[in-house]
Protein backbone atom coordinates (compact mmCIF):
# COMPACT_ATOMS: atom_id res chain seq x y z
CA UNK A 1 0.00 0.00 0.00
CA UNK A 2 1.16 3.50 -0.73
CA UNK A 3 0.37 4.76 2.68
CA UNK A 4 1.52 8.08 4.00
CA UNK A 5 3.39 7.52 7.22
CA UNK A 6 3.12 10.82 8.97
CA UNK A 7 4.73 9.80 12.24
CA UNK A 8 6.76 6.72 11.42
CA UNK A 9 8.68 6.74 14.69
CA UNK A 10 5.47 6.62 16.69
CA UNK A 11 4.03 3.72 14.76
CA UNK A 12 4.14 1.48 17.80
CA UNK A 13 2.22 -1.72 17.30
CA UNK A 14 -0.81 -2.09 19.51
CA UNK A 15 -0.46 1.34 21.00
CA UNK A 16 -3.14 2.36 23.43
CA UNK A 17 -5.92 4.62 22.26
CA UNK A 18 -4.79 8.20 21.78
CA UNK A 19 -7.50 10.41 23.21
CA UNK A 20 -5.75 13.46 21.84
CA UNK A 21 -6.04 12.30 18.21
CA UNK A 22 -8.77 14.11 16.28
CA UNK A 23 -12.17 12.43 15.99
CA UNK A 24 -12.84 10.87 12.59
CA UNK A 25 -16.34 9.63 13.29
CA UNK A 26 -18.77 10.61 16.01
CA UNK A 27 -22.15 9.24 16.91
CA UNK A 28 -23.90 11.51 19.37
CA UNK A 29 -26.86 10.32 21.40
CA UNK A 30 -28.23 8.16 18.60
CA UNK A 31 -31.65 6.60 18.75
CA UNK A 32 -32.71 4.34 15.93
CA UNK A 33 -36.24 3.04 15.87
CA UNK A 34 -37.26 0.88 12.92
CA UNK A 35 -40.63 1.09 11.24
CA UNK A 36 -41.71 -2.11 13.01
CA UNK A 37 -41.13 -0.39 16.37
CA UNK A 38 -37.89 -2.17 17.27
CA UNK A 39 -35.48 0.19 19.00
CA UNK A 40 -32.05 -0.88 17.79
CA UNK A 41 -30.06 1.97 19.29
CA UNK A 42 -31.04 3.80 22.44
CA UNK A 43 -28.93 6.83 23.29
CA UNK A 44 -25.71 5.49 21.80
CA UNK A 45 -22.67 7.75 21.65
CA UNK A 46 -19.24 6.80 20.43
CA UNK A 47 -16.21 8.26 18.76
CA UNK A 48 -13.53 6.91 16.45
CA UNK A 49 -10.22 8.73 16.42
CA UNK A 50 -7.53 9.07 13.86
CA UNK A 51 -5.04 6.22 13.71
CA UNK A 52 -6.76 3.62 15.88
CA UNK A 53 -8.29 0.22 15.43
CA UNK A 54 -11.60 0.00 17.27
CA UNK A 55 -13.49 -3.26 17.71
CA UNK A 56 -17.22 -3.00 18.16
CA UNK A 57 -18.45 -5.98 20.16
CA UNK A 58 -21.87 -7.00 21.28
CA UNK A 59 -24.23 -9.96 21.25
CA UNK A 60 -26.49 -10.52 18.26
CA UNK A 61 -29.21 -7.89 18.23
CA UNK A 62 -27.19 -5.45 20.36
CA UNK A 63 -27.24 -2.85 17.57
CA UNK A 64 -23.73 -3.32 16.17
CA UNK A 65 -24.73 -3.55 12.55
CA UNK A 66 -27.24 -0.72 12.91
CA UNK A 67 -24.49 1.52 14.31
CA UNK A 68 -22.14 0.58 11.48
CA UNK A 69 -24.82 1.11 8.83
CA UNK A 70 -25.45 4.60 10.22
CA UNK A 71 -21.75 5.41 9.93
CA UNK A 72 -21.72 4.10 6.35
CA UNK A 73 -24.63 6.38 5.51
CA UNK A 74 -26.84 3.43 4.58
CA UNK A 75 -29.49 4.46 7.04
CA UNK A 76 -30.43 7.58 8.98
CA UNK A 77 -30.91 7.83 12.75
CA UNK A 78 -34.33 8.52 14.27
CA UNK A 79 -32.64 11.13 16.44
CA UNK A 80 -29.09 12.12 17.21
CA UNK A 81 -26.19 13.10 15.03
CA UNK A 82 -23.81 11.07 12.86
CA UNK A 83 -20.68 12.83 11.62
CA UNK A 84 -17.93 11.31 9.53
CA UNK A 85 -14.99 13.66 9.00
CA UNK A 86 -17.30 16.29 10.43
CA UNK A 87 -19.81 15.80 7.59
CA UNK A 88 -22.88 13.83 6.57
CA UNK A 89 -21.94 10.17 5.91
CA UNK A 90 -24.23 10.10 2.86
CA UNK A 91 -22.26 12.74 0.98
CA UNK A 92 -20.15 11.51 -1.91
CA UNK A 93 -17.25 13.58 -0.57
CA UNK A 94 -17.47 11.58 2.68
CA UNK A 95 -17.76 8.26 0.89
CA UNK A 96 -14.66 9.03 -1.15
CA UNK A 97 -12.70 8.88 2.12
CA UNK A 98 -14.22 5.70 3.54
CA UNK A 99 -13.82 2.06 2.60
CA UNK A 100 -16.36 -0.61 3.40
CA UNK A 101 -16.19 -4.36 3.74
CA UNK A 102 -19.59 -5.96 4.31
CA UNK A 103 -20.81 -9.52 4.52
CA UNK A 104 -21.79 -10.14 0.91
CA UNK A 105 -23.64 -13.31 0.05
CA UNK A 106 -22.79 -13.23 -3.60
CA UNK A 107 -20.79 -10.72 -5.60
CA UNK A 108 -21.13 -10.91 -9.39
CA UNK A 109 -19.60 -14.31 -10.01
CA UNK A 110 -18.88 -13.91 -13.70
CA UNK A 111 -16.44 -11.06 -13.21
CA UNK A 112 -12.75 -11.63 -12.71
CA UNK A 113 -10.90 -10.48 -9.60
CA UNK A 114 -9.07 -7.96 -11.77
CA UNK A 115 -12.40 -6.57 -13.05
CA UNK A 116 -13.91 -6.26 -9.58
CA UNK A 117 -10.88 -4.27 -8.46
CA UNK A 118 -11.00 -2.09 -11.59
CA UNK A 119 -14.70 -1.41 -10.97
CA UNK A 120 -14.16 -0.15 -7.43
CA UNK A 121 -11.03 1.77 -8.36
CA UNK A 122 -13.09 3.65 -10.96
CA UNK A 123 -15.23 5.16 -8.18
CA UNK A 124 -12.34 7.19 -6.77
CA UNK A 125 -10.37 10.06 -8.29
CA UNK A 126 -7.09 8.90 -6.73
CA UNK A 127 -7.41 5.15 -6.06
CA UNK A 128 -4.74 2.83 -4.71
CA UNK A 129 -2.89 1.04 -7.50
CA UNK A 130 -4.36 -2.29 -8.59
CA UNK A 131 -1.03 -4.00 -7.89
CA UNK A 132 -0.90 -2.69 -4.32
CA UNK A 133 -4.48 -3.87 -3.68
CA UNK A 134 -3.71 -7.34 -5.01
CA UNK A 135 -0.67 -7.47 -2.77
CA UNK A 136 -2.42 -6.13 0.34
CA UNK A 137 -5.18 -8.71 0.03
CA UNK A 138 -2.87 -11.57 -0.91
CA UNK A 139 -4.52 -12.13 -4.28
CA UNK A 140 -1.39 -12.62 -6.37
CA UNK A 141 -2.01 -15.15 -9.12
CA UNK A 142 -5.80 -14.96 -8.74
CA UNK A 143 -6.35 -11.79 -10.80
CA UNK A 144 -7.80 -13.62 -13.80
CA UNK A 145 -9.93 -16.01 -11.79
CA UNK A 146 -13.70 -15.49 -11.92
CA UNK A 147 -15.13 -14.47 -8.56
CA UNK A 148 -17.45 -17.50 -8.62
CA UNK A 149 -14.46 -19.84 -8.85
CA UNK A 150 -12.81 -18.56 -5.67
CA UNK A 151 -12.87 -20.24 -2.27
CA UNK A 152 -14.70 -18.56 0.59
CA UNK A 153 -11.50 -17.16 2.03
CA UNK A 154 -10.35 -15.84 -1.35
CA UNK A 155 -13.70 -14.11 -1.86
CA UNK A 156 -13.33 -12.51 1.52
CA UNK A 157 -9.90 -11.21 0.52
CA UNK A 158 -11.30 -9.72 -2.70
CA UNK A 159 -13.87 -7.83 -0.61
CA UNK A 160 -11.01 -6.60 1.59
CA UNK A 161 -9.20 -5.31 -1.50
CA UNK A 162 -12.40 -3.50 -2.61
CA UNK A 163 -12.62 -1.79 0.79
CA UNK A 164 -9.12 -0.40 0.29
CA UNK A 165 -9.61 0.58 -3.39
CA UNK A 166 -9.99 4.28 -2.67
CA UNK A 167 -7.04 4.47 -0.28
CA UNK A 168 -9.54 5.44 2.44
CA UNK A 169 -8.86 7.28 5.70
CA UNK A 170 -11.60 5.35 7.52
CA UNK A 171 -12.24 1.66 6.91
CA UNK A 172 -15.27 -0.31 8.11
CA UNK A 173 -14.59 -4.03 8.30
CA UNK A 174 -17.57 -6.25 9.09
CA UNK A 175 -16.35 -9.71 10.10
CA UNK A 176 -13.31 -9.40 7.83
CA UNK A 177 -11.69 -12.76 8.56
CA UNK A 178 -14.70 -15.07 8.34
CA UNK A 179 -13.72 -18.17 6.38
CA UNK A 180 -10.00 -17.41 6.37
CA UNK A 181 -7.44 -20.00 7.41
CA UNK A 182 -5.02 -19.08 10.21
CA UNK A 183 -2.27 -17.94 7.88
CA UNK A 184 -4.55 -15.71 5.80
CA UNK A 185 -6.11 -14.32 8.96
CA UNK A 186 -2.70 -13.33 10.36
CA UNK A 187 -1.80 -11.75 7.01
CA UNK A 188 -4.99 -9.68 7.06
CA UNK A 189 -4.33 -8.65 10.66
CA UNK A 190 -0.91 -7.42 9.58
CA UNK A 191 -2.53 -5.39 6.80
CA UNK A 192 -5.07 -3.91 9.20
CA UNK A 193 -2.28 -2.92 11.59
CA UNK A 194 -0.33 -1.29 8.79
CA UNK A 195 -3.42 0.75 7.92
CA UNK A 196 -3.53 2.00 11.50
CA UNK A 197 0.20 2.69 11.48
CA UNK A 198 -0.32 4.84 8.39
CA UNK A 199 -2.71 7.03 10.38
CA UNK A 200 -5.94 5.50 9.11
CA UNK A 201 -8.85 4.54 11.31
CA UNK A 202 -10.30 1.04 11.29
CA UNK A 203 -13.64 0.01 12.75
CA UNK A 204 -13.95 -3.72 13.12
CA UNK A 205 -16.90 -5.86 14.01
CA UNK A 206 -16.09 -9.45 14.75
CA UNK A 207 -17.38 -12.57 16.40
CA UNK A 208 -13.84 -13.73 17.09
CA UNK A 209 -12.99 -12.19 20.46
CA UNK A 210 -9.36 -13.23 20.08
CA UNK A 211 -9.33 -11.10 16.94
CA UNK A 212 -10.55 -8.05 18.83
CA UNK A 213 -8.04 -8.82 21.57
CA UNK A 214 -5.12 -9.17 19.17
CA UNK A 215 -5.97 -6.27 16.89
CA UNK A 216 -7.93 -3.55 18.63
CA UNK A 217 -6.46 -0.51 20.35
CA UNK A 218 -9.85 0.05 21.87
CA UNK A 219 -12.92 -2.09 22.30
CA UNK A 220 -16.43 -0.73 22.52
CA UNK A 221 -18.92 -3.16 23.98
CA UNK A 222 -22.54 -2.46 23.18
CA UNK A 223 -25.60 -4.15 24.53
CA UNK A 224 -29.27 -3.34 24.01
CA UNK A 225 -28.40 -0.35 21.86
CA UNK A 226 -26.07 1.34 24.31
CA UNK A 227 -22.36 1.44 25.00
CA UNK A 228 -21.84 -0.58 28.17
CA UNK A 229 -18.07 -0.31 28.31
CA UNK A 230 -15.15 0.96 26.33
CA UNK A 231 -11.43 0.71 26.85
CA UNK A 232 -8.29 -1.14 25.84
CA UNK A 233 -8.64 -4.92 25.61
CA UNK A 234 -6.87 -5.20 29.00
CA UNK A 235 -9.27 -2.74 30.61
CA UNK A 236 -12.27 -4.56 29.21
CA UNK A 237 -11.03 -7.90 30.49
CA UNK A 238 -10.45 -6.49 33.97
CA UNK A 239 -13.79 -4.78 34.03
CA UNK A 240 -15.54 -7.95 33.02
CA UNK A 241 -13.69 -10.08 35.55
CA UNK A 242 -14.34 -7.69 38.39
CA UNK A 243 -17.88 -6.80 37.50
CA UNK A 244 -18.41 -3.71 35.43
CA UNK A 245 -16.99 -0.62 37.09
CA UNK A 246 -15.52 -2.32 40.16
CA UNK A 247 -11.89 -1.96 39.17
CA UNK A 248 -10.19 1.19 38.09
CA UNK A 249 -8.53 1.00 34.73
CA UNK A 250 -4.87 0.06 34.52
CA UNK A 251 -5.03 -2.55 37.32
CA UNK A 252 -4.38 -6.08 36.10
CA UNK A 253 -6.63 -8.58 37.85
CA UNK A 254 -6.06 -12.35 37.90
CA UNK A 255 -8.43 -15.19 38.40
CA UNK A 256 -7.31 -17.68 41.04
CA UNK A 257 -8.95 -21.12 41.12
CA UNK A 258 -8.20 -23.67 43.80
CA UNK A 259 -9.68 -26.03 46.37
CA UNK A 260 -9.39 -24.35 49.76
CA UNK A 261 -10.95 -24.52 53.20
CA UNK A 262 -10.88 -20.73 53.59
CA UNK A 263 -14.33 -19.16 53.77
CA UNK A 264 -15.62 -16.57 51.36
CA UNK A 265 -15.95 -13.99 54.15
CA UNK A 266 -12.35 -14.54 55.11
CA UNK A 267 -11.12 -14.26 51.52
CA UNK A 268 -13.06 -11.07 50.85
CA UNK A 269 -11.32 -9.39 53.79
CA UNK A 270 -7.91 -9.92 52.19
CA UNK A 271 -6.56 -6.83 50.46
CA UNK A 272 -6.92 -6.90 46.67
CA UNK A 273 -9.68 -9.53 46.55
CA UNK A 274 -12.65 -8.25 44.56
CA UNK A 275 -14.95 -11.23 44.57
CA UNK A 276 -15.17 -14.92 45.23
CA UNK A 277 -17.47 -17.67 44.19
CA UNK A 278 -17.52 -21.45 44.23
CA UNK A 279 -17.94 -23.68 41.25
CA UNK A 280 -18.01 -27.50 41.51
CA UNK A 281 -16.11 -27.55 44.78
CA UNK A 282 -13.48 -25.07 43.64
CA UNK A 283 -13.19 -21.52 44.86
CA UNK A 284 -12.76 -18.79 42.27
CA UNK A 285 -11.15 -15.60 43.52
CA UNK A 286 -10.66 -12.43 41.52
CA UNK A 287 -7.81 -10.38 42.87
CA UNK A 288 -6.06 -7.23 41.79
CA UNK A 289 -2.98 -8.21 43.87
CA UNK A 290 -2.78 -11.93 43.07
CA UNK A 291 0.74 -12.49 44.45
CA UNK A 292 -0.01 -11.24 47.97
CA UNK A 293 -3.44 -12.91 47.98
CA UNK A 294 -1.85 -16.24 47.10
CA UNK A 295 0.96 -15.85 49.64
CA UNK A 296 -1.61 -15.27 52.38
CA UNK A 297 -3.87 -18.11 51.26
CA UNK A 298 -1.01 -20.62 51.06
CA UNK A 299 0.17 -19.62 54.52
CA UNK A 300 -3.31 -20.02 56.03
CA UNK A 301 -4.40 -23.20 54.27
CA UNK A 302 -1.82 -26.01 54.15
CA UNK A 303 -4.29 -28.25 52.32
CA UNK A 304 -4.85 -25.85 49.41
CA UNK A 305 -4.53 -27.74 46.08
CA UNK A 306 -5.52 -27.83 42.40
CA UNK A 307 -4.26 -24.26 42.03
CA UNK A 308 -4.63 -22.35 38.74
CA UNK A 309 -3.97 -18.68 38.07
CA UNK A 310 -5.33 -17.10 34.88
CA UNK A 311 -5.58 -13.76 33.26
CA UNK A 312 -9.21 -12.93 32.55
CA UNK A 313 -10.20 -13.79 28.98
CA UNK A 314 -12.00 -11.31 26.80
CA UNK A 315 -14.73 -13.87 26.33
CA UNK A 316 -15.51 -13.93 30.05
CA UNK A 317 -15.49 -10.16 30.18
CA UNK A 318 -17.75 -9.96 27.17
CA UNK A 319 -20.25 -12.36 28.70
CA UNK A 320 -20.16 -10.55 32.04
CA UNK A 321 -20.65 -7.13 30.46
CA UNK A 322 -23.49 -8.10 28.18
CA UNK A 323 -25.28 -10.47 30.50
CA UNK A 324 -29.03 -10.11 30.41
CA UNK A 325 -30.06 -9.57 33.99
Amino acid sequence: MNQVMETPTQAVPHSAARPSAPAVATLTNITKRYANGVVALDGLSLELRRGEIVALLGPNGAGKSTAVRLMMGLSAPTSGDVRIFGADPQLTSTRLRTGVMLQVGRAPEMLKVREHIAMFRSYYPAPASAASLVKAAGLEGLEDRLFGQLSGGQKQRVLFALALAGNPDLVFLDEPTVGLDIEARRAMWAQIRSLRDAGKTVLLTTHYLEEADALADRIIVISKGRVVREGTPAEIKNAGAAGAGAVSSGVAVKIIRCVTTLSAEHLLKMPGVNSTMTDEGRTIIISSTPESTLREMLALDQSLHSLEVQSPALEDAFLALTRND
Binding site: Q90, T92, M110, E115
Partner: protein, 269 residues
Amino acid sequence: MSTATLPLAAATESSLTRGLRIFLSETRLELTRSLRTRTFSLSAIGFPVMFYLLFGIMMNRHETIDGTSIARYMLAGYAVFGVVGSALFGIGVGMAADLSAGWLELKRASPMPPAAYLAAKCVTAICFGAIILTLLCTLGVTLGHVQLTLAEYAHMLGLVAAGAIPFACMGLALALIVPFNSAPGVTNLLYLPMSFLGGLWIPLQALPKAVQHIAPLLPTYHLAQLMLGVFGAADPTKTQASHWLGLLGFTLLMFGVAWIAFRRREQNA
Protein backbone atom coordinates in the same frame (compact mmCIF):
# COMPACT_ATOMS: atom_id res chain seq x y z
CA MET B 1 -30.39 7.12 -4.45
CA SER B 2 -30.89 9.20 -1.39
CA THR B 3 -31.16 12.93 -1.70
CA ALA B 4 -27.74 13.44 -0.21
CA THR B 5 -26.03 11.47 -2.96
CA LEU B 6 -27.39 13.83 -5.59
CA PRO B 7 -25.73 17.16 -4.93
CA LEU B 8 -26.92 18.42 -8.30
CA ALA B 9 -26.42 22.03 -7.37
CA ALA B 10 -22.74 21.32 -6.95
CA ALA B 11 -22.57 19.34 -10.20
CA THR B 12 -19.42 20.76 -11.64
CA GLU B 13 -17.95 19.57 -14.89
CA SER B 14 -15.52 17.37 -13.06
CA SER B 15 -18.25 15.53 -11.16
CA LEU B 16 -20.09 15.07 -14.45
CA THR B 17 -17.05 13.59 -16.15
CA ARG B 18 -16.46 11.48 -13.07
CA GLY B 19 -20.04 10.18 -13.27
CA LEU B 20 -19.64 9.48 -16.97
CA ARG B 21 -16.37 7.61 -16.43
CA ILE B 22 -17.95 5.44 -13.73
CA PHE B 23 -21.02 4.86 -15.90
CA LEU B 24 -18.85 3.66 -18.80
CA SER B 25 -16.85 1.31 -16.60
CA GLU B 26 -20.03 -0.05 -14.96
CA THR B 27 -21.61 -0.57 -18.38
CA ARG B 28 -18.58 -2.39 -19.78
CA LEU B 29 -18.48 -4.73 -16.78
CA GLU B 30 -22.25 -5.25 -16.65
CA LEU B 31 -22.23 -6.21 -20.33
CA THR B 32 -19.23 -8.52 -19.80
CA ARG B 33 -20.92 -10.13 -16.83
CA SER B 34 -24.24 -10.61 -18.67
CA LEU B 35 -22.64 -12.09 -21.77
CA ARG B 36 -20.55 -14.47 -19.66
CA THR B 37 -23.63 -15.61 -17.73
CA ARG B 38 -24.71 -18.17 -20.30
CA THR B 39 -28.04 -18.99 -18.67
CA PHE B 40 -28.97 -15.34 -19.14
CA SER B 41 -27.39 -14.50 -22.48
CA LEU B 42 -28.46 -17.69 -24.25
CA SER B 43 -32.07 -17.50 -23.11
CA ALA B 44 -32.42 -13.73 -23.57
CA ILE B 45 -31.12 -13.95 -27.13
CA GLY B 46 -32.15 -17.52 -27.90
CA PHE B 47 -35.89 -17.38 -27.25
CA PRO B 48 -36.83 -14.47 -29.52
CA VAL B 49 -34.56 -15.78 -32.27
CA MET B 50 -35.96 -19.31 -32.02
CA PHE B 51 -39.59 -18.13 -31.88
CA TYR B 52 -39.05 -15.87 -34.88
CA LEU B 53 -37.50 -18.72 -36.86
CA LEU B 54 -40.44 -20.98 -36.03
CA PHE B 55 -43.44 -18.67 -36.17
CA GLY B 56 -42.16 -15.87 -38.37
CA ILE B 57 -40.19 -17.71 -41.00
CA MET B 58 -40.84 -21.46 -41.10
CA MET B 59 -44.59 -21.45 -40.49
CA ASN B 60 -46.94 -19.14 -42.35
CA ARG B 61 -44.70 -18.90 -45.40
CA HIS B 62 -46.07 -16.71 -48.18
CA GLU B 63 -48.85 -15.36 -45.99
CA THR B 64 -49.43 -11.65 -45.58
CA ILE B 65 -51.28 -9.30 -43.28
CA ASP B 66 -52.69 -6.27 -45.09
CA GLY B 67 -49.95 -6.61 -47.70
CA THR B 68 -47.07 -7.14 -45.25
CA SER B 69 -45.45 -10.59 -45.25
CA ILE B 70 -45.64 -12.50 -41.97
CA ALA B 71 -41.84 -12.67 -41.81
CA ARG B 72 -41.64 -8.90 -41.98
CA TYR B 73 -44.60 -8.30 -39.69
CA MET B 74 -43.33 -10.61 -36.95
CA LEU B 75 -39.85 -9.11 -37.09
CA ALA B 76 -41.34 -6.15 -35.22
CA GLY B 77 -43.05 -8.35 -32.61
CA TYR B 78 -40.05 -10.50 -31.80
CA ALA B 79 -37.68 -7.52 -31.71
CA VAL B 80 -39.94 -6.04 -29.02
CA PHE B 81 -40.18 -9.45 -27.28
CA GLY B 82 -36.37 -9.53 -27.18
CA VAL B 83 -35.72 -6.09 -25.76
CA VAL B 84 -38.54 -6.38 -23.20
CA GLY B 85 -37.08 -9.68 -21.96
CA SER B 86 -33.57 -8.25 -21.75
CA ALA B 87 -34.79 -5.27 -19.75
CA LEU B 88 -37.09 -7.21 -17.40
CA PHE B 89 -34.63 -10.00 -16.67
CA GLY B 90 -31.44 -7.96 -16.80
CA ILE B 91 -32.72 -5.24 -14.50
CA GLY B 92 -35.54 -6.89 -12.58
CA VAL B 93 -33.94 -10.22 -11.80
CA GLY B 94 -30.36 -8.94 -11.96
CA MET B 95 -30.94 -6.17 -9.49
CA ALA B 96 -33.05 -8.38 -7.21
CA ALA B 97 -30.04 -10.71 -7.06
CA ASP B 98 -27.66 -7.85 -6.25
CA LEU B 99 -30.06 -6.64 -3.56
CA SER B 100 -30.56 -10.00 -1.88
CA ALA B 101 -26.85 -10.79 -1.84
CA GLY B 102 -25.94 -7.52 -0.13
CA TRP B 103 -23.86 -6.56 -3.15
CA LEU B 104 -25.96 -3.49 -3.88
CA GLU B 105 -25.56 -2.43 -0.25
CA LEU B 106 -21.79 -2.55 -0.62
CA LYS B 107 -21.99 -0.50 -3.80
CA ARG B 108 -24.27 2.04 -2.16
CA ALA B 109 -21.80 2.46 0.68
CA SER B 110 -19.16 3.23 -1.95
CA PRO B 111 -19.00 6.58 -3.76
CA MET B 112 -20.55 5.06 -6.90
CA PRO B 113 -23.38 7.29 -8.17
CA PRO B 114 -26.56 5.15 -8.02
CA ALA B 115 -27.58 6.55 -11.40
CA ALA B 116 -24.46 5.00 -12.95
CA TYR B 117 -25.53 1.57 -11.74
CA LEU B 118 -29.06 1.92 -13.11
CA ALA B 119 -27.94 3.47 -16.40
CA ALA B 120 -25.37 0.70 -16.90
CA LYS B 121 -28.06 -1.95 -16.47
CA CYS B 122 -30.37 -0.08 -18.85
CA VAL B 123 -27.70 0.32 -21.54
CA THR B 124 -26.82 -3.36 -21.18
CA ALA B 125 -30.47 -4.23 -21.87
CA ILE B 126 -30.39 -1.96 -24.93
CA CYS B 127 -27.23 -3.71 -26.17
CA PHE B 128 -28.94 -7.09 -25.81
CA GLY B 129 -31.98 -5.69 -27.61
CA ALA B 130 -29.72 -4.48 -30.43
CA ILE B 131 -28.00 -7.86 -30.72
CA ILE B 132 -31.39 -9.60 -30.90
CA LEU B 133 -32.71 -7.12 -33.47
CA THR B 134 -29.62 -7.58 -35.63
CA LEU B 135 -29.92 -11.38 -35.51
CA LEU B 136 -33.64 -11.23 -36.33
CA CYS B 137 -33.05 -8.87 -39.27
CA THR B 138 -30.25 -11.10 -40.58
CA LEU B 139 -32.52 -14.16 -40.38
CA GLY B 140 -35.44 -12.30 -41.93
CA VAL B 141 -33.41 -10.99 -44.85
CA THR B 142 -31.54 -14.22 -45.54
CA LEU B 143 -34.25 -16.82 -44.87
CA GLY B 144 -37.55 -14.97 -44.86
CA HIS B 145 -37.21 -12.89 -48.05
CA VAL B 146 -37.69 -9.73 -45.99
CA GLN B 147 -36.80 -6.49 -47.78
CA LEU B 148 -35.21 -4.12 -45.29
CA THR B 149 -33.46 -0.82 -45.88
CA LEU B 150 -30.65 0.43 -43.70
CA ALA B 151 -32.86 3.36 -42.66
CA GLU B 152 -35.57 0.95 -41.48
CA TYR B 153 -32.99 -1.01 -39.49
CA ALA B 154 -31.67 2.19 -37.90
CA HIS B 155 -35.23 3.28 -37.08
CA MET B 156 -35.89 -0.06 -35.37
CA LEU B 157 -32.62 0.23 -33.47
CA GLY B 158 -33.72 3.62 -32.17
CA LEU B 159 -37.05 2.15 -31.05
CA VAL B 160 -35.23 -0.68 -29.27
CA ALA B 161 -33.18 1.88 -27.34
CA ALA B 162 -36.15 4.07 -26.44
CA GLY B 163 -38.41 1.09 -25.80
CA ALA B 164 -36.02 -0.42 -23.27
CA ILE B 165 -36.61 2.46 -20.86
CA PRO B 166 -40.24 1.77 -19.82
CA PHE B 167 -39.41 -1.89 -19.23
CA ALA B 168 -36.23 -0.96 -17.38
CA CYS B 169 -38.46 1.04 -15.01
CA MET B 170 -40.75 -1.96 -14.67
CA GLY B 171 -37.70 -4.13 -13.90
CA LEU B 172 -36.60 -1.63 -11.29
CA ALA B 173 -40.03 -1.72 -9.64
CA LEU B 174 -40.03 -5.54 -9.68
CA ALA B 175 -36.54 -5.72 -8.16
CA LEU B 176 -37.59 -3.44 -5.32
CA ILE B 177 -40.86 -5.25 -4.59
CA VAL B 178 -40.34 -8.92 -5.38
CA PRO B 179 -37.88 -10.99 -3.31
CA PHE B 180 -35.04 -12.51 -5.31
CA ASN B 181 -36.22 -16.11 -4.94
CA SER B 182 -39.50 -15.41 -6.66
CA ALA B 183 -38.22 -12.71 -9.05
CA PRO B 184 -37.68 -14.98 -12.10
CA GLY B 185 -41.09 -16.59 -11.68
CA VAL B 186 -42.99 -13.36 -11.14
CA THR B 187 -41.16 -11.73 -14.04
CA ASN B 188 -42.14 -14.56 -16.39
CA LEU B 189 -45.69 -14.41 -15.10
CA LEU B 190 -45.89 -10.80 -16.28
CA TYR B 191 -43.58 -10.96 -19.29
CA LEU B 192 -45.14 -13.88 -21.14
CA PRO B 193 -48.84 -12.86 -20.93
CA MET B 194 -47.87 -9.25 -21.64
CA SER B 195 -46.05 -10.43 -24.78
CA PHE B 196 -48.86 -12.64 -25.99
CA LEU B 197 -51.67 -10.14 -25.31
CA GLY B 198 -49.65 -7.30 -26.81
CA GLY B 199 -49.48 -9.19 -30.10
CA LEU B 200 -45.76 -9.91 -30.03
CA TRP B 201 -46.09 -13.63 -30.81
CA ILE B 202 -49.14 -13.80 -33.00
CA PRO B 203 -50.49 -10.81 -34.96
CA LEU B 204 -53.35 -9.17 -33.09
CA GLN B 205 -55.63 -9.59 -36.11
CA ALA B 206 -55.42 -13.36 -35.60
CA LEU B 207 -56.38 -13.11 -31.93
CA PRO B 208 -59.89 -13.03 -30.42
CA LYS B 209 -61.71 -9.68 -30.26
CA ALA B 210 -61.43 -9.63 -26.44
CA VAL B 211 -57.64 -9.70 -26.66
CA GLN B 212 -57.70 -6.94 -29.23
CA HIS B 213 -59.53 -4.80 -26.69
CA ILE B 214 -57.08 -5.54 -23.88
CA ALA B 215 -53.97 -4.94 -25.98
CA PRO B 216 -54.04 -1.11 -25.93
CA LEU B 217 -53.66 -1.27 -22.13
CA LEU B 218 -50.29 -2.94 -22.50
CA PRO B 219 -46.95 -1.21 -23.10
CA THR B 220 -45.82 -4.15 -25.25
CA TYR B 221 -48.64 -3.34 -27.70
CA HIS B 222 -47.62 0.30 -28.00
CA LEU B 223 -43.95 -0.50 -28.60
CA ALA B 224 -44.92 -3.19 -31.15
CA GLN B 225 -47.19 -0.74 -32.99
CA LEU B 226 -44.36 1.82 -33.15
CA MET B 227 -42.08 -0.90 -34.48
CA LEU B 228 -44.69 -1.93 -37.08
CA GLY B 229 -44.96 1.71 -38.05
CA VAL B 230 -41.44 1.40 -39.47
CA PHE B 231 -42.95 -0.85 -42.19
CA GLY B 232 -46.18 1.12 -42.40
CA ALA B 233 -47.95 -1.93 -40.95
CA ALA B 234 -49.29 -0.40 -37.71
CA ASP B 235 -53.00 -0.26 -36.92
CA PRO B 236 -54.13 2.69 -39.11
CA THR B 237 -56.87 3.69 -36.66
CA LYS B 238 -54.27 4.71 -34.00
CA THR B 239 -51.72 7.49 -34.15
CA GLN B 240 -48.01 7.20 -33.37
CA ALA B 241 -48.45 9.91 -30.74
CA SER B 242 -50.97 7.74 -28.86
CA HIS B 243 -48.40 4.93 -28.67
CA TRP B 244 -45.66 7.25 -27.41
CA LEU B 245 -48.11 8.59 -24.86
CA GLY B 246 -48.99 5.06 -23.78
CA LEU B 247 -45.32 4.23 -23.24
CA LEU B 248 -44.69 7.49 -21.40
CA GLY B 249 -47.63 6.88 -19.08
CA PHE B 250 -46.43 3.35 -18.36
CA THR B 251 -42.90 4.63 -17.69
CA LEU B 252 -44.15 7.22 -15.21
CA LEU B 253 -46.40 4.68 -13.52
CA MET B 254 -43.55 2.18 -13.10
CA PHE B 255 -41.14 4.87 -11.98
CA GLY B 256 -43.66 6.00 -9.39
CA VAL B 257 -44.16 2.45 -8.12
CA ALA B 258 -40.37 2.00 -7.95
CA TRP B 259 -40.01 5.28 -6.10
CA ILE B 260 -42.63 4.35 -3.49
CA ALA B 261 -41.05 0.92 -3.05
CA PHE B 262 -37.66 2.54 -2.67
CA ARG B 263 -38.90 5.01 -0.04
CA ARG B 264 -40.48 2.19 1.92
CA ARG B 265 -37.25 0.23 1.85
CA GLU B 266 -35.33 3.29 3.01
CA GLN B 267 -37.68 3.83 5.92
CA ASN B 268 -37.15 0.25 7.01
CA ALA B 269 -33.40 0.47 6.52
